[in-house]
Amino acid sequence: MPEKEKETQDGQISRRQFIRNAGIVVGGTAVGSAFLLTACGGDGETVTNTVTKTVNVTTTAGSGTTQTVTTTAAGTTTYVCPYDNQQFANLAELKAHLEAQHMEALTKTRLVTLNVNSNDYIVEVEPQWTLAFVIRDKLGLTGTKIGCDEGACGTCTVLLESIPILSCMVLAIECESKNILTIEGLEAKDGTLHPIQKAFSEEMGFQCGFCTPGIIVTTKALLDKNPSPTTDDIKSALSGNLCSCGAYDSILKSVLSAANKGGI
């Protein structure tokens, strides 16, 4: 059972609620990025997935740099405060501690520079805002859609430093000076469609189109790394992108067509 559900069923708060409430992310970013990185056959840095008894706590502390605290304890789950390293038995206690002791650090808005589609945006973000929220609601780039808002459907995928990530599971505050590519960044300035967009058009690699932006940017990351993917490579790369119209067959054809035409 996923860690998040386990916690929810134990009557505690979910990972997602925790992000919203306390402005820190537990495990989620790592899970999403690692999954998609592997899916694209990437050989970049490996991000370890969380196991049941391990909790990764990532937060933005003082200087604005990101620090990760991982604690593994055999047989017991330990929750560590990223500010003073105190240990707690459960998320609720950790949350209470954070709210009591570190509220200022948690709630302080920060100016962050995001490079989205080769444009620099300076935006004031609250610590708990996800990248998906900032891209859509603060930058107005609504091409990136939010499906589940909890890292399960792949709809919100964008490229962060060329790696597909789930933007609903990444905090905007973590993306200082990072290069981000969204669906809006693929089309050429003269309005020419990117070859992948052209292939999806011609092969009708969509039905309702809601999952399409996420699928197209994931395809871009795949073809950038692997210009001649096999069918299995494509299925693997897109395994995290749900399409509830069941258009997988034409999505597959679209990616193959883009690859055959050198669409990277």
Binding site: S201, M204, C208, G209, N241, C245, G246, S250
Partner: protein, 760 residues
């Protein structure tokens, strides 16, 4: 035909591949507030009191509403039984809306909802449809737990609908072999990837709503009724929706009404976006039922009796059409030749979530029951079910027990054969459980099911405009949720008008201010009736264009023809006029034609309920069952469907492929477990629900048959939903073929498979 049957680039391709298509969640209006709904944590309870005082005092809260803010006449015509947007005296399922808040931010609204104090008195609950009909069951409604179309709420045990032919008891007596069993379907969800969203804003007494609805004026009428305003006071916009599947028919009416109510009270625009947790408990839960099947047959397999008693659980509130769920498909109860048939539908209120649609109502469930009955006796006799079905179904011209006439598009022989060949049936079928064993523990089997669904008669309108520069636009109101209707209608229009497909440059599918009346998109009817409407409009426009061209050329209109937006003399193609010139000379002119097609008028020769046309379809699958782990894997699937005529080929193929692919997991994976004590759905997010993915699921082989449907536009037959039918039936019969034992409850999860095999 030159354009029909091809696959020109669909009209919304550019917007969808560039992220420019605007979905409801993308709508943001300056000053917009965010709404949250307080939902019942209990499945069945009396509401003693609701105290909103503290919530109203929270800074940033702009409006709090409960049933006290609603007009007493609610959504009577659209819910069965009638329902207001908030619970009044009692709550009937976990998630029943009790109150709502609009606030400056989502976070404040969430906080405010928690401050509303509701005092409940818990009541005993019932979660099983058969139990709900017992005399001592908790009464969800005072009048009883049955719902009938004729009487509304009725005493428990009153059937919603019954049909019979011959004498079931006599048929069972004559049988050499018989079976009597109960099968059950689990609770699933029909939700879509787009977080279900509505935005509402009042301009004085006029209301604008952005909603991911499935188009049509259904939501319009609901809003008009609920707020007591006129239809033309409502502007409904539903440009793009993140999929439909029926989820965006009625539940979105609840959300739209609540959003509009908040907006009116706060005097500001309001947006409500459901969370996945809300979606999993509150969106329609389709096709949940227990079905008793009694069947008898002679030694040679010929059927003597088939009885289907369907106990359909429509939850605490049913969407009106959900009660049709079984009976529309009941026409098919004697689809395989059988002299004695009976179909009874009980519509049972329980404390589960609301009943509703999932891309069709009925067929997935009713087809499954019918096929399971037949397969059960054939299995006992060791007869090849595929070959039996191929020989024993009705043919075009035959009628079902309720006078539903099978038209020329019901070519089941062709589709059954194609589906079977698609997976190599002849070399793979074996006596149940007697096949080879692979890798020590794996058994394989094949299954075949009839996949059809009637379509629903309804009304469609289009307004066609050919502009003075020769560009063409049409508008209708089917909504745009991926069904490709704009492109299919464009193909028909281009073909009928002799226009370039590319000249149809504006297709408006979701704006009630400019579209003429049309019913919402449901029942595999949008292309069928919308197609007729656009063909008639094209004919009228063409007559005007030809008349003007004839005047310019000095010839007779009947001697002209048109192609690629050029009108020319049949005898001398050098004498020609473009559409543009025909509209510029002698004076500048736009052609505007509004056309309406009244559904029943198109069909005059079919009986039965709902619609009546049953275009053929079949699904064959091969599965592998690991007898050590209980895991069921679908290895191959072939979905063969007669489309009459594939108007836009890729759109049509997508419907056939997607419907099967998405729904095959209903047989062996998809379900929402419900806590038997509290009635709470235990899946609350996508990662606990095994949607079809690109790696986990087999992409069906698609076979398109094209035997024209004489009543269809340019021969097209209804296609939207029938690819969904037969999915569970095919997979479950294949599992039986593999392991030789029956499993009565869906889905076929490993625990049930191992239990059936006697391993746990």
């Amino acid at each position: 035909m030159t354009i029909v049957g091809t696959s020109p680039i669909v009209k919304d391709a550019r917007l969808k591949v560039t992220g420019q298509a605007i979905y409801t969640q993308d709508v943001n209006i300056p000053g917009m507030l965010h709404g949250k709904i307080l939902r019942s944590p209990l499945a069945h309870a009396k509401i003693i009191s609701i105290d909103t005082a503290e919530a109203e005092l929270l800074p940033g809260v702009r409006a709090v509403v409960t049933h006290k803010d609603c007009r007493p006449d609610g959504m009577n015509s659209y819910w069965s039984p009638p329902r207001l947007m908030f619970a009044v005296d009692k709550v009937r399922f976990v998630g029943d809306p009790v109150a709502a808040v609009a606030a400056d931010t989502v976070e404040i609204a969430e906080e405010a909802v928690k401050l509303i104090k509701v005092e409940y008195q818990e009541l005993p609950l019932v979660l099983d449809p058969i139990e709900a009909l017992k005399p001592d069951a908790p009464q969800i409604y005072e009048a009883g737990n049955s719902f009938t179309m004729a009487q509304g709420m009725a005493t428990s045990g009153t059937p919603c609908f019954a049909a019979t032919k011959g004498d079931i008891e006599q048929g069972l007596k004559e049988a050499d072999i018989s079976a009597d069993f109960i099968i059950s379907t689990p609770i699933i969800t029909n939700h879509s990837p787009e977080t279900d969203t509505t935005v509402a804003q009042w301009f004085g007494e006029q209301l604008t709503v952005w909603s991911s609805s499935q188009g049509g004026f259904t939501l319009h009428s609901i809003l008009s009724m609920v707020f007591g305003i006129r239809e033309t006071d409502i502007h409904l916009i539903s440009n793009y929706s993140g999929a439909g599947h029926g989820a965006n028919l009625k539940e979105c009416s609840m959300r739209a009404c609540i959003t509009a109510l908040l907006s009116r009270k706060a005097k500001m625009p309001v947006k409500i976006s459901y969370t996945k947790r809300e979606v999993f408990s509150c969106m329609s839960m389709p096709d949940k039922a227990k079905i008793r099947v009694r069947v008898g047959a002679k030694d040679d397999g010929s059927l003597t009796a088939l009885e289907i008693l369907q106990y359909h659980d429509i939850g605490g509130y049913g969407e009106t059409h959900a009660v049709y769920s079984g009976f529309a498909q009941s026409s098919l109860v004697d689809f395989y030749k059988c002299p004695n048939v009976k179909f009874v539908l009980y519509t049972c209120m329980t404390n589960n979530g609301v009943g509703g649609y999932f891309r069709s109502y009925g067929p997935e469930m009713t087809c499954w029951a019918i096929e399971m009955g037949i397969e059960r006796v054939l299995g006992k006799l060791g007869i090849d079910a595929g070959k039996f079905k191929l020989k024993n179904h009705l043919q075009p011209g035959d009628k079902t027990h309720d006078d539903t006439l099978l038209t020329e598009s019901s070519v089941f022989d062709i589709d059954f054969t194609a589906a079977m060949n698609g997976i190599g049936w002849d070399t793979k079928w074996h006596a149940p459980g007697k096949g080879e064993t692979y890798e020590g523990s794996k058994k394989r089997g094949v299954g075949l099911a009839c996949a059809t669904k009637h379509h629903t008669k309804n009304d469609k309108s289009v307004e066609l405009k050919i502009s003075r520069d020769g560009s063409i636009q049409f508008n209708s109101f089917p909504g745009n949720f991926g069904q490709g209707i704009g492109s299919s209608l464009s193909v028909l229009l281009a073909e009928a008008l002799g226009a370039k497909y590319e000249d149809i440059n504006t297709v408006i599918l979701g704006d009630s201010d400019i579209s003429p009346f049309t019913t919402c998109s449901f029942g595999s009817s949008t292309l069928f009736y919308g197609g007729h409407a656009i063909l008639q409009a094209a004919q009228e426009a063409r007559a005007i264009l030809f008349e003007r061209a004839a005047n310019i050329l000095g010839v007779k209109a009947e001697d002209l023809e048109s192609k690629d937006s050029v009108i020319s003399l049949k005898a001398d193609p050098t004498k020609k006029v473009t559409f543009k010139d025909a509209l510029q000379k002698p004076y500048v002119f736009d052609i505007v034609i509004s056309n309406h097609v009244y559904g029943p008028a198109v069909q005059t020769n079919t009986g039965g309920r709902g619609g009546g046309i049953f275009p053929s379809g079949a699904l064959a699958v091969e599965v592998e069952v690991d007898t050590e782990t209980g895991q069921v894997t679908v290895l191959e699937a072939c979905s063969s469907h007669n489309l009459g005529k594939a108007i836009h080929r890729k759109v049509a193929e997508g419907q056939v492929s997607g419907g099967a692919l998405l729904n095959i997991p209903r047989a062996h994976r998809l379900f929402i477990p419900i806590d038997p004590v509290t009635g709470t759905p235990l899946v609350t997010s996508d990662d606990g629900y095994a949607w079809a993915t690109m790696v986990d699921d087999v992409m069906p082989i698609v076979n398109i048959t094209e035997v024209p449907e004489p009543l269809g536009p340019m021969g097209a037959a209804p296609i939207g939903e029938k690819s969904v039918a037969g999915t569970s039936a095919a997979v479950m019969s294949a599992v039986f073929n593999a392991i030789g034992v029956w499993i009565d409850d869906k889905p076929l999860t490993p625990d049930k498979v191992l239990k059936a095999l006697g391993k746990v």
